[in-house]
Symmetry: C2
Subunit: 588 residues, 2 copies
């Protein structure tokens, strides 16, 4: 047991942390780092950066996330889609591989870190809800196709360039004669081995007596074995010097000096939108991975703390000479499966990575790039979600269209246009939903004090009373629809002399809705129609009490709908000449 | 009576149109044109264009709107805020008054016309709901301050420039010695007269026996009298040549050649965002004016037709040598008050304007610009809505903040940044609302089949059942909040063995929500908790029936909540060992 004061300072997992948990974290951290080494090299190269940038992005950022993030098992570092977005953002600004390009990548990471931190400070974790699943899946599918086409280039050791999938494919086709056969043979063999490992390694290992968890983790480490074998083959046969197979080459040993390069105003302007897109995509990807694991472990993810964690990680990537990072799916799943109990697993991974960078950097010199390409292609191909598209399309056309348009935007016009299109589609659909509130014209269920939709239930209505129930909070996005519906109902029922708004589902009314209700009261009064309210909730009534709406209400505020129906029943003849009340409010 | 075939072709107002209506339209059209002449000159100058551009923007666009728009009385033409936005968009691209500047203004009008038409064709009239009243009022307030500071420059005949209010004010202060005293005297006198007319002319006219309507319209025509008097004074005293008072000067008689200048790709890119901002602001302003009048006249406004009408009007403005236009408040109100019955009033105004342009253009030569400035300052000052700000702030802090931030953005960083900030605030608040659905944990009202929120009503719950009712359609924007709430409730009630989602208020479930419910079912099952549904609406159940959700549901689908409560009541001991059903769905 810990002393209370210490307990308060520590995160929840620390209160029960012991040697058993430490052993789990140690194993998980080491397993993750073994996966991380080839992945971080590959993703850095994909982003157009020297391979070591990936290694640098896998130390300090992990520590930063461990301190500020809220997930216990999220594995932060370079990931495929974010590396693709980095390459796409920087390609127009500098030559890939140049020192300037590297500095721009740091600024991009720093800027997206600042954006994430700002969103976190403003507690805008809600932006994670900005993108629907079909938009995310469409974006991932389109991005994966671009990544794979780009990696085919590296796999076959040929030149080629272009932003959109079409440009890339056309460029590859025009360079078909320049394929390096040795690279293609080596890379193709690696690809086949990796595909076989992905399909069969786990069941094979289980047949040899491994438990399912160990077998699953073991199969995830296949890329490392392939990379080691390929490096040895390349070195033994001198594929590099004799056959021109591209290799990673010299990696500076030791660590880079920490520094935070600050962009000029012009560069800031050029990087702002890509940085925002990377921040958003990275956050959405990361938070959905973290959320689904937390749900399994009965923990909670705080989206605002995730913003802070990922923001700090990206700032750390900028300081440490890396590239934009986020929480990646595959390594997080392995971290979780390998038994990680706390962010200490990440700290251990970072420490192991430090050891690799300072002692093993010479080992990557003869690592062939075509094999790294194979290690990217295999996992990324699982992002192409055609089954998901079929399923989505069958379930709903709007969702299917969002998938297709986003993927099409990515493929035809590049990742940034694609994600912008996806965000636009998502926003429009939110706006569309908000502007179509559920509204019912209601009547009394005979013999009761219950009221129901006239279109669903046989109910009694009054000839000169129009009773309308809005099943949502009133705000600027939906109050025009309420007016339009009322207008439509009044045209259908021109003898209406009283309009009753039943407010049982309304918990808030914003200023815009208030203004328009005030205006509605006036225009209805000018047409000789009184406006009444019923079932206003207490807090709503408190706020309305001193506003023009109730002070100038032409009708009354009733406590309950049935009271309104009783009071406004003018089928009795003496009521026919009841004068129009204009300025006397009577809040219940 | 019209023959049915003819009646189908004509708009609704035409079916009962007669000579009385024509007389009303004639009067209204002429009254509007008398207001329109000085306003259109002034707004063109404010936009940095030659005065005649305003006249040209007041003919063809009115006709185009009359054909395509849906309001009978909306008066389309140059308006203050749109002219300010035009000046702000073009200032960085060309020198005000240059031929290039004029061409850019046409391209801007054409582009915003195309944007409006596209939105109309896509039936996206819902974008009018994008801006809340506080954002609109904040934008108008900030814009009015900038306009007034800018017009003080013209009123005092001094130089000065700048985009934001601060820059403008600083620039004016540094040129204080260059005030033209004759201009200031003349403009100041006009300003005082116009303020007096605005305050007292209507009641004065009523005292002389005019009806209230006539008096109201008469007072609106004061600017015309002031302008005529000032022109005569300027001519008589040769204020132009002797004292250097700036005048409108020669206006080419006759009409410009119709042409549609097409922008290059670079110019298109520079104009796209300003054009979109002008389209949106113009549309929102116009549609709210049209809507409030239509409500008074028991007519309906179709937002999608408004998009087409305003889009056509702006394209027409581009073709006819004008500037971006929209429906203006003051002229529309006068048009309505003067008795306009149909879009013919607009056609008549356009014809009268044609007469003015072809025969009277010489009359504006000696019109002093300082007096036009006075005619802008007086109406625009009413846009500064400090009372509205006070009222909004008192009603709600979020709305008040939106007002202040938008106005502050406009004043500090210019109209475009201001409106972008306003849109961002509005979108975030929509997202914020969407992500906070109303969710209730419910229990049974003892002795009934009714269920209510446990926090509001004394109800009976079951110890191992968590029944949750979501009062909104489930979609990607709110389903994370539903999960978070469920997660929270499960932490509070750890003995839960059954979760029941009551779907009585859910009319649609999008793909994202479906995916997450499927995942929820799995993660709950992994924790030994079954997921059940009750009260699913028919159409929703039809769509869910063949999905993984119901096929793999760990629990059951109940028709009614009370059936679920009866079936899941495990307080009876024999239920304690009831096995967990995993793969057998039972849709009701």
């Amino acid at each position: 047991m810990l002393a209370p004061a210490r307990a308060r300072l520590l995160p929840p997992w620390a209160k029960t942390y012991g040697t058993a948990a430490l052993r789990h974290d140690l194993i998980a951290g080491l397993v993750v780092v073994v996966m991380l080494v080839p992945q971080s090299l590959a993703y850095a190269l994909m982003a157009g950066l020297p391979a070591q940038a990936g290694l640098y992005a896998s130390m300090l950022p992990i520590l930063a996330y461990a301190v500020f993030g809220s997930s216990r098992t999220l594995a932060v570092g370079p990931v495929a889609v974010v590396s693709l977005m980095t390459a796409s953002a920087l390609a127009p600004l500098a030559a890939a591989g140049s020192a300037e390009y590297g500095t721009l990548a740091l600024m991009l990471a720093g800027l997206s870190g600042v954006i994430l931190l700002m969103l976190g400070v403003l507690r805008l974790g809600v932006v994670a809800n900005l993108l629907s699943h079909p938009v995310i899946a469409g974006f991932a599918t389109g991005s994966a196709v671009i990544i794979i086409i780009g990696q085919i280039k590296s796999l076959a050791g040929m030149p080629g360039s272009g932003h959109s999938a079409l440009q890339l494919a056309a460029s590859l086709a025009s360079h078909l004669t320049e394929i390096n056969r040795a690279a293609l043979l080596l890379g193709g063999t690696a690809l086949v081995l990796l595909i076989l490992a992905r399909r069969h390694a786990s069941s094979l290992l289980q047949r040899f007596g491994c438990s399912q968890t160990v077998a699953d983790i073991g199969s995830k480490l296949a890329p490392v074995l392939v990379v080691i074998a390929a490096t040895l083959v390349t070195q033994a046969l001198a594929l590099d010097s004799r056959y021109g197979v591209a290799v990673v080459g010299e990696i500076p040993g030791g660590l880079p000096a920490l520094a935070l390069p600050l962009p000029s105003l012009d560069i800031l302007r050029a990087l702002l939108l890509p940085a925002a897109a990377i921040a958003l995509v990275g956050f959405v990807e990361s938070v959905s991975v973290a959320q689904s694991l937390a749900m399994k472990r009965q923990e909670r993810i705080d989206a605002n703390r995730e913003l802070l964690g990922l923001g700090a990680a990206n700032l750390a990537a900028a300081v440490a000479g890396g590239l934009p990072v986020t929480g990646g799916l595959s390594r997080t799943v392995v971290n979780h499966a390998a038994g990680a109990q706390s962010p200490l697993a990440g700290v251990i991974a970072a420490a192991a990575m430090l050891l690799v960078v300072t002692t093993l950097s010479g080992a990557f010199t003869q690592l062939p790039i075509c094999v790294l390409a194979a290690t990217i292609i295999v996992p990324v191909s699982s992002l192409i979600d055609l089954a998901g598209l079929r399923r989505t399309w069958r379930y709903g056309r709007a969702d299917g269209l969002a998938f297709v348009l986003t993927a099409g935007g990515v493929l035809g016009a590049g990742v940034e246009t694609g994600i912008a299109l996806g965000i636009l589609l998502s926003l429009l659909s939110i706006l569309w939903r908000a502007s179509r509130p559920h509204i019912a014209i209601i009547g009394r269920v005979p013999g009761t004090e219950q009221f129901r939709n006239v279109n669903r239930v046989a109910v009694a209505t009054l000839p000169r009373l129009l009773a309308m129930r809005v099943d949502e909070n009133l705000f600027f996005g939906n109050v025009p629809a309420v007016e339009a519906e009322l207008q439509r109902a009044l045209l259908v029922q021109p003898a209406t002399r009283d309009v009753l708004l039943v407010m049982s589902s309304v918990s808030s009314i914003d200023m815009t809705a208030l203004d328009r209700l005030i205006e509605l009261n006036q225009t209805l009064a000018a047409r000789g129609i009184r406006l009444h309210f019923a079932d206003i909730k207490g807090p709503v009534l408190d706020r309305l009490r001193h506003t023009e709406l109730l002070e100038a209400l032409s009708g009354q505020v009733f406590r309950f709908t049935h009271e309104a129906f009783n009071a406004l029943d003018d089928t009795a003849p003496e009521d026919a000449e009841r004068p129009l009340r204009v300025a006397t409010p009577s809040p219940a």
